[in-house]
């Protein structure tokens, strides 16, 4: 190795020990140190100086608070601080999560019930509208026969359309029933036997109730129609109070 080049490396040793060398000079010196014992030996002396600079400062005690802060970050302090908080937050978190889930389920159930109620109401209203339209259409039909209903505190008509084999009961001021009761319509055969024509309840929020009747047999095979109060779900044959009876 050329003497001049070695001298350049030697001149850079002090800067290297201080960490002030950079770039190509740094890489070249590090490569040189791999093979040069005298430079490594001299570097040890410069390193002693730079290491000495770490300690060559008058001691400056930090504040007492620093020791406490440091102590609080040690595992035992962390355990003491975090365990109860952890348990508390864990249980609180679970409680909150459980509560939120329960609330969500309740809200869903409530929404579901509300939706079902609304759907039922809509279905009922739609049915009422269809029924009313059905009755109106029957009234408008030339061959429809209207037979007045004569009963206590109740008025209305029985509409008969023999051509289309349909009938309708239009009743005003039909009394409300308890939840375990229902009205049931009966078609009356000539021998007095009753055939169920369906169950119904008074129309909500309306002073009249319409009940369409679609007989499976020819309407001409019946001699009359009547309504009784029956247990909810209906009966095979009339068992309860008769509301009215109309002869055809």
């Amino acid at each position: 190795m050329a003497r001049d080049e070695h001298s350049i490396f030697r001149e850079n040793l002090s800067a290297y020990a201080l960490g002030a060398l950079e770039g190509d000079e740094l890489r070249a010196l590090e490569a040189h140190l791999q093979t040069c014992d005298s430079c490594r030996s001299e570097l040890v002396q410069y390193r002693a100086i730079s290491d000495g600079l770490l300690t060559a400062l008058p001691p400056r005690p930090p504040s007492a608070a620093l020791r406490k802060r440091l102590q609080s970050q040690l595992p035992s302090a962390q355990r003491k601080a975090s365990q109860p908080r952890f348990r508390l937050s864990w249980s609180f978190g679970r409680l909150a999560l459980g509560g939120a889930l329960a609330l969500l389920l309740l809200m869903n159930a409530f929404s579901f019930i509300q939706m079902r109620q609304i759907q039922n109401q809509q279905a009922t209203l739609a049915q009422q509208v269809r029924t009313s339209q059905f009755a109106l259409s029957m009234l408008a039909y030339p061959s429809t026969q209207a037979i007045p209903i004569a009963a206590d505190n109740l008025t209305g008509s029985v509409l008969l359309d023999r051509e289309r084999n349909t009938a309708a009961l239009v009743m005003w001021h039909l009394p409300e029933l308890s939840g375990d009761q229902t009205y049931q319509a009966w078609l009356i055969e000539p021998d007095g036997h009753r055939v169920s024509a369906g169950v119904f309840r008074p129309q909500a929020d309306e002073s009249y109730t319409t009940k369409p009747v679609y007989p499976k047999q020819d309407l001409s095979s019946f001699v009359g129609i009547g309504v009784t109060v029956e247990p909810a779900g209906g009966s095979e044959q009339p068992t309860g109070q008769r509301i009215f009876k109309v002869d055809f």
Partner: protein
């Protein structure tokens, strides 16, 4: 446990002994803090860096090898890197030394002649203080501010060659003083 040396205490720290750790803190915190304060020149930042350095000592205790140097040197090296990282993170301007405000605290602390190592550190401190201000500045900017030679040249507005010459001259002066001890 008060009789234990640093190496023994570090063995205990490596096993998770918090009391041993606090003893090391009590023993070396002032020196670590002196270094971080010199580098950062901000009491709050210096305490944060000191704290970080000791937390690194705690977490890296198993890596400490006594054969490669004293614990204090290992700890101060960690503290220096931690503080210099903070300097870069904060984007702080280099702190130029003020020859009119030398560290004189060492002159009022008790005589440490009975502790040869301490005496040598103190003598090196005074050797640095006795440097010509220009020479002293390149030492301080490189070692306590982490600047390269070209960065020092830029900060001080000196030619790079001048920085190199003064740095080499200052280090040779310190080496001579160090060897005289």
């Amino acid at each position: 446990m008060t009789e234990l040396n640093d190496t023994d205490l570090m063995s205990r720290v490596a096993r998770g002994d918090e009391q041993a750790f606090l003893m090391l803190y009590d023993r070396h915190a002032a020196r670590v803090h002196a270094l971080t304060l010199r580098i950062l020149n901000d009491p709050m930042l210096a305490e944060e860096a000191t704290q970080d350095a000791f937390l690194k000592l705690w977490s890296r205790a198993r890596l400490f090898l006594n054969e490669r140097g004293s614990l204090l040197l290992w700890l101060l090296t960690i503290a220096r890197r931690t503080a210099l990282d903070r300097v870069r993170l904060e984007g702080r301007r280099p702190i130029l030394s003020d020859s009119n405000d030398p560290d004189d605290l060492w002159q009022v602390i008790p005589d440490l002649d009975s502790m040869p190592e301490e005496a040598r550190w103190r003598s090196l401190h005074f050797a640095v203080q006795s440097l010509d201000p220009d020479h002293r500045q390149v030492i301080e900017l490189s070692y306590y501010q982490g600047l390269s030679q070209s960065e020092i040249a830029e900060v001080l507005g000196w030619p790079l060659g001048t920085v190199k010459t003064r740095m080499r001259s200052a280090m040779d002066h310190l080496r001579q003083k160090w060897n005289e001890e």
